[in-house]
Symmetry: C3
Subunit: 338 residues, 3 copies
């Protein structure tokens, strides 16, 4: 795959400063780029790397274009330009629109046109796969699951009974959708509460490798349109995630929680059960959300990283914070009383 | 499935206030319930939702029954009533007690009566599956594994050699039992320490999707009867978890740690290696347990969630806690000395 | 398997104090050891357990050998002795060097000598498996993957296209290598950024159960020689992990971060994107690394564990840290001004 700078400029409406005939054969980051590569400047602070870059051209914002030593494509949104241009160079294997003969497909399953089912996949009774669905090798699709048009499951995904997946979704390997929610009631021992509902996933949802989304007990677990879940995210039973929210890797969300739309939830965040988070909330990495968030904005918890010996001294202070407050109050009182 | 309120009342010994002939076709939570649904009031603070609920009846505690606009089933333990009643409406597919022809079963494996082995499952040499065991599609069962009566493995579970699983256990998709513990000794590079022991799991244990339990190096990793592990829990080598302890999702437990019985360990907790936690300890979500807990009770760590700009100011203070303590002491001394 | 103390002494150059003819049939820890077991003393504080141990002999450091009631093998590095001796007793099943007939292997794949491919494994077009490679049952190996000599994948591993794995690597069940990195650009909705690069893994790398390593967008995600990743670790796209670094379970590493060599990263650590961590950095369990670490040493974050009621009082203080600092300053000023 080769394409000229001129063609990229035309196709994506990016102003070119430089030789339109230069051939681009791939993309690479600023420091690794070789001749033939198009690179990107996302942050002005990396501008110093431009001088040493072997890239054949760079996409950057006009504000960064002064004295640029490389041919330039100007973009108001270099990251968006990246997303668009990268699709030209995407060589990821596409589904082959065939049913592999080692797949086991129940006679009652209904398959649309151009469906792919990979080797050793299992499609159970009552499953409905719409046109263009791709089921990767080794996937197991439980009874009465439905999957919408052009959705793609990569290898070794497990889907329990009655889960519904929308259109154009991507589910990565090792993900598990619809396992029982974690519900017990103590009665001398922990008695299991049957999880009667399922998981409903909207359109254009991407679900990362090893991510788990549990089925609900008294209502469905719902993931709205356009949600993106990174790898190893855990979504508890009955939880609801609003449209276009992105959740980074290893975040754990307990049950019956309602998360709004357009939220950005950092990696390894913990969110407790039965709370509400409104739209457009940003939560920084590894925060614990232990109460509802009713106002949009950015939230954090935790302490900053410190060298171990200094940290230990701060921890001593943390344990005495209550006492410190009292001592300050007493000092103020003594001074006030003169 | 339909059942009258009268029958539910009789079967579970719950006093009925209302029309015994009302038909119940399912369960649902307070806000989503439709006509035909039985709902539950677990918390008095949600009582206000009763007026708007379309449910046909509600299970609640006598203390909440005054002026209830719906037919009522009284229970001293509404959550326990829920667990019992829900089993009536559980339509999850049950194992079909057959051996799928694409399963690969070693000739030396011994299978009891009414065993199910799903499509593309692999059962290795020396495996013993007791009566009523169900192995889901795509599971891989290593050499000499034994699984007790009526235990069920969902799809795509991986069990390494010599793991022992008790009776009536449930293992969800993507779980991995018996992989090598994380043990190395530094000798210029990291030299692997063979993990000679295995994983022993008691009766009535439930193991969540994507949960991993490592085999031991100098002793077995042991999970006692009635333990419930949620999704994506990690249990290190040689660790011991006592009976009827429940551990929520994404909790990471390092090796050679002993956790007592009847503990409740919140989601995304971290527990370091080689410590002891006694019985009946409760640990709140996302706490780090960095030393033994020798007294029962509730424990926490971390900081509360704050808006990002206020949090940053607290972090500045956290780094100065040691200095603040000293300054308070100095102030006290100056005042004392007059 | 039985071996005499004398033979162990000779084979590993450990001085024996006691009867060389004693037969050792296995290893066990200090408290569980039975007659026939060799045990180990790694920490002088456990010396008191020696008196009660039923072990037939113990490996310990000379400094701990005084008055030892058991036959002794002396070692300057008892843990290294352990790693060496344990390999004598390792009965884990080895790959059988055969291709199972239910494996699906594309005609264009190239397999070396003594390669094992387990039941129901899938080996796609263009894959290269070097001599002695073992692919476990249920693994799915994507297009154009290459795996070096004597590397072993346990059951149900998923490898996406073009991933490269070096020699003598071990990949545990449920691991997913090469899934798409988590990259989107907001354009009214979240637009996916194609992840054009792959994952490159060096030699002698071990990857734990359920661990996920994403493919890169503008450069390869690289794991250098000798790296050990525990279970359920997440490695983001384009991240680089230096040689002989060990990362404990459930650690989440975001994208485009560079981690040095010989680092020890504790369990459940979070590391944000686009930072640098130099060589020989140690990070304690559950810390959040939110900025680059440019000096070797030990780092921590978080707060110590506290009983819940005391913890709540410290949290109140944490929220007032900014105010407390101001009040201390004011007190100092008032006293200074006398």
């Amino acid at each position: 795959m080769k394409i000229s700078l001129g063609e990229i400029s035309d196709r994506f409406g990016l102003q070119l400063i430089g030789d339109a005939s230069i051939q681009i054969s791939g993309l690479a980051d600023l420091t690794d780029a070789q001749p033939g590569h198009l690179t990107f400047l996302f942050n002005s602070s990396y501008k110093k790397h431009l001088a040493k870059s072997a890239a054949s051209a760079v996409v950057l914002h006009e504000a960064d274009s002064v004295d640029c030593p490389l041919p330039v494509l100007l973009s108001d949104q270099p990251r968006l330009a990246w997303a668009n241009i990268a699709s030209l160079f995407d060589t990821a294997p596409q589904p082959d629109r065939s049913i592999q003969k080692t797949a086991v497909i129940d006679g009652s399953a209904r398959l649309g046109k151009h469906v792919s089912v990979g080797a050793h996949a299992v499609v159970s009774a009552g499953v409905v796969l719409a046109d263009g669905v791709s089921i990767g090798p080794g996937c197991v699709i439980g009874n009465d699951v439905s999957i919408g048009e052009n959705s793609r499951l990569h290898a070794n995904v497990s889907i329990y009974h009655e889960v519904q997946i929308g259109e154009r979704c991507i589910v990565h390997s090792g993900a598990v959708l619809g396992a029982d929610g974690f519900g017990y009631e103590f009665d001398g021992k922990l008695k299991k509460i049957p999880q009667l509902y399922s998981v409903h996933i909207g359109n254009d949802v991407e679900i990362g490798a090893g991510t788990t989304i549990d089925r609900g007990a008294l209502n469905h677990t719902c993931i709205a349109d356009g949600v993106k879940l990174d790898n190893q995210v855990q979504v508890g039973h009955g939880t609801n995630i609003g449209a276009h929210t992105a959740i980074s890797g290893c975040t754990a969300i307990a049950g019956s929680t309602r998360i709004g739309s357009y939220c950005l939830i950092g990696g390894a965040v913990g969110i407790i059960d039965n709370i509400e988070i409104v739209d457009q909330v940003e939560i920084t990495a590894m925060s614990l959300v232990s109460q509802s968030i009713l106002k949009k904005g950015r939230y954090s918890s935790g302490t900053g990283l410190m060298p171990g010996n200094r940290w230990k001294r701060s921890i001593v202070g943390f344990r005495k914070l209550d006492e410190m407050l009292k001592r300050i109050r007493l000092l103020e009182k003594r001074l006030d009383e003169g």
